[in-house]
């Protein structure tokens, strides 16, 4: 609940937590094969590793970046007809890990999260993903995202916009490594003077409506006026107890 305490960042230490989408449904239909994708990622990491070693960093966190990837490979298990992958779970785990990094000492690394996703968004994860995004915003952890699928991911765009990260959808997947190196490999300090792709127009609107009606009890959004909220059951324009009394009477009369 309290706001994040002031932090002392070690200037040249960076912690990047990479989240990979390993949804087999996506990879089977993608033009880029999974092994090629992994080779891009591994080469990116080996370059970053070299940079970090030169700057005299804490070895623990370098090793950790890779560890988390293997963790994700086994843990993300999307199944069935639902094509989205478990983005909210991996984002939550990444944030818990970053909290541990914050506790690791007086000077701790500058963390950020890099997400590479190809599967479409799963609407059932909306609340969980928004919770994770706000928590990342609170802890000042930017979420960079790279969408390698066919359509667009509104969740990734919102995540990067709210937390101050970079979002990009590469045109040409064969050159993925180049996109990763030039856009996503820059550390946070250098971002103020490197020209990065700006968001064109982040679409925040809840399912593209301009104006809507909000239930004052549960904050669900409707596009037309209704008499009753379908989410929480509150009757509009009446006190709650009167509504309960009315529905009780209705229930009793058929029995008599």
């Amino acid at each position: 609940m309290a706001s994040a305490p002031s932090k002392l960042y070690a200037d040249d230490v960076n912690l990047v937590v990479v989240l990979l989408d390993t949804n087999p449904f996506f990879w089977s239909s993608s033009s880029l094969s999974f092994s090629q994708f992994l080779s891009h990622i591994v080469s990116l990491l080996s370059v970053k590793k070299q940079k970090q070693i030169k700057a005299n960093q804490d070895e623990r966190f370098i090793g950790f970046c890779i560890f988390l990837i293997y963790e994700q490979l086994s843990k993300e298990e999307p199944e069935g007809r639902i094509k989205s992958s478990l983005f909210s779970g991996s984002l939550s785990m990444a944030l818990c890990y970053i909290q541990r990094a914050f506790h690791s000492g007086a000077l701790h690394p500058h963390p950020r999260i890099l997400c590479l996703q190809g599967s479409p968004d799963g609407a059932e994860q909306y609340v969980a993903i928004m919770n994770a995004i706000f928590s990342a915003q609170r802890s000042e952890v930017p979420i960079d995202s790279c969408y390698i699928g066919a359509q667009n991911s509104a969740f990734l765009q919102q995540a990067s916009y709210i937390t101050g990260g970079v979002h990009h959808k590469p045109q040409n997947l064969d050159g993925l490594f180049q996109y990763l190196m030039t856009i996503f490999a820059t550390d946070l300090h250098s971002r103020s003077f490197i020209h990065l792709p700006k968001p064109v127009g982040v679409d925040f609107r809840a399912s593209t409506i301009d104006m809507g009606y909000i239930c004052s009890v549960c904050l669900s959004i409707f596009c037309k006026q209704h008499k009753k909220c379908s989410t929480c059951g509150s009757v509009f324009g009446q006190g709650q107890s009167e509504a309960a009394l009315a529905s009780d009477k209705k229930r009793k009369t058929p029995e008599t």
């Binding site: 939550s92 818990c96 541990r100 059932e124 928590s135 925040f204 301009d210 004052s216």
Partner: protein
Amino acid sequence: MNNGAGKRINGGVEEDDDEDDVNGDLDAWERTYTDERSWESLQEDESGMLRPIDNQALYHSQYRRRLRSLSSTAARIQKGLIRYLYIVIDLSKAASEMDFRPSRIAVIAKHVEAFIREFFYQNPLSQVGIVTIKDGVANCLTEIGGSPESHINALMKKLDCSGDSSLQNALDLVDGYLNQIPSYGHREVLVLYSALSTCDPGDIMETIQKCRKSKIRCSVIGLSAEMFICKHLCQETGGTYSVALDESHFKELILEHAPPPPAIAEFAVANLIKMGFPQRAAEGSISICSCHKEAKVGAGYTCPRCKARACELPTECRVCGLTLVSSPHLARSYHHLFPIAPFDEVPPSHLNDPIRKQKRNCFGCQQNVLDSGNKPGLAVVCPKCKRYFCLDCDIYIHESLHNCPGCDSFRHSKAATAKED
């Protein structure tokens, strides 16, 4: 609540009776060094940092106590999400007392600023107003509104204290204002009371009944001692009364009012509120900003009804009065509607079981739950997905993240299907 505060109270009492002549010129905080030798309770942990002994277990038990008191019964208690809160600050002579360093009013101002920011962060659709009591008269310092900066700036300018405090005048004023707000809003008052008395022009009991009829939930945080009238007010209106022992306790108490309190269903009428979801203006567009009354380039929001430009969200359009929000603002309140269950404590005997010892990694941060030296650290387990978590992750998950990583990582767990409803 904590041992430190308890010791400080005892130290104060003893001073009056026995040690006047010996330690009479030492302050209470100096006495904690001479009498209690606080440096001896420090210890080095495995990364070389100094920590008081058992601080983590203490912190965690405090946290769990707080969690239990907040979510008393079931998980889905209805909460009042659209709140209209008045903060009543007592600027009587008692507020300039120096028992809180540097003075009570300085501490109050500092923490009210932090509270206002936290309040707007957790309740983006709500509004706040500030009322002050000075020389027995209650004045409205800022009108009810949704911009944190205007309240904070106004408060920091007027912090001089004098005269008596009058609780009835403040309640009358607030009652008058809160009767004008829309019926779907929850009406709340938070009184920060430093004085030990109240000088009222009439019968305060009548005022309390009037507040109760207007369905205003009044809470009080006292800085001096417990008063019957404050306790009575809070009991009658359904609020909470607490007295701060020291500055950190005061901070904790005031921040407890930031998340929405459990709503009493009859208090607010459910209603459909018309709101607009403006799009961000294109980068190079030029328009006249309605809040600054001058031309601005790009980077604003366009009201969908009247096309006027607003600088930030959430706000009310100055031209047509439509409430403008973006969907993240609404999403920030969703965790109040879908709370996660508190985790259960794991008895140390479970952790020490040699057969299952290898599996003991916290699911969130991958750290070994057993401390170095093979002592079992404290761990908790999610009742739904049965994953283990360490204390730090437990506190982070419940206070900030509001998602269980374990439940979210497995599609067919019960928690996942419950969320899909």
